[in-house]
Amino acid sequence: SVTEIRSGFTAIKANIQARDPIRTLSILSHPHSLHKVQSSDRCCITHHLFNFYVDKVFKHCKTEDSYVNRKISSIANSFLSVKKKLRQCHEQNKCMCGQESTEKFKQILANYKELNVTSAAMKSLGELDILLDWMEKSA
């Protein structure tokens, strides 16, 4: 559940964010903040982002720290569990993608491609609280 993702992330937040030295680029929050996304597009953006993290991010976040790796596995498997639920919404057409969310997600992928894969993945993982804060605020 999202609560478990949050507690898993909190346990490794300092460790993961310390591995991201780039202050001047954010994958999720700049130039357009997630908080500016319209409510109608929230499900679609969430669906896209969960796919993004599962497909692109977690596999490139292996560290030398076994505790951190176990927490990342826990988060990744929780994402997978939530992703399956979101897929059901998508398949039942309850998760429509508007123009804005499509643009927003393109921007996120563009930000991601500005860095090499490992840096981009680690930065994305370090921004999980940005995603969770936005999801919980709009829940």
Binding site: V2, T3, R6, S7, T10, A14, Q17, A18, R23, T24, L25, S26, S29, H30, S33, H35, G126, D129, I130, L132, D133, E136, K137
Partner: protein
Amino acid sequence: SGELYCSLPNPRNVHFESINMKNVLHWSAPEGTGDGVLYKVKYSVYGVGKWIRKPECRNINRTWCDLSSETSDYEEQYYASVKAFLDGMCSEWMETTRFNPLTDTKIDPPMVSVSSTEKSISITLTAPEKWKRSPEGESISLLQVYPGLQYNVSVLNKKTKKRWLFSISNNTLVVPWLEPGTAYCVSAQIHVPTPLLHSVFSKEYCIATLKDK
């Protein structure tokens, strides 16, 4: 002027201390330096390209700097950094970890007001306000910042020494059917389920039910 010779030891333990989103940067003086060290501070919004100097914290000799105003948007995250100067030498810039006002702030306990009748006590709770620039500024309750905010209320019967716990979402609680002429002490705590945050319990507010007529 060109950059000074930076061999001064660095400020230590640079970190934010935040209560109700009053976000104050704190640090410790460089090791082995006595009086006379001066500091300057800068901050940046995570994901935005530039560092911004804080003029009110330029050439200061204290080891804190209030950045509440600069970090008041809790939908953003921040870094801050401190540099030390002494006798023509300087230190490196020393940074905080990434600061997320929403999850990294501490929350004060609620204000508690209690009144009583012969057989009941009424409790009213007020969540603390988010820090604001000036007393005239717009008041934002932490209830608006954390919509899932709840209260845990502890009621202690001073005669029997028994303590009861109530968990409520709204801010008023009436406890009926109490013993007349008995002292009850109330304290309350704020609990935010997610992100997981909770205040300490407030101090106890004691009141006695009125005596039987």
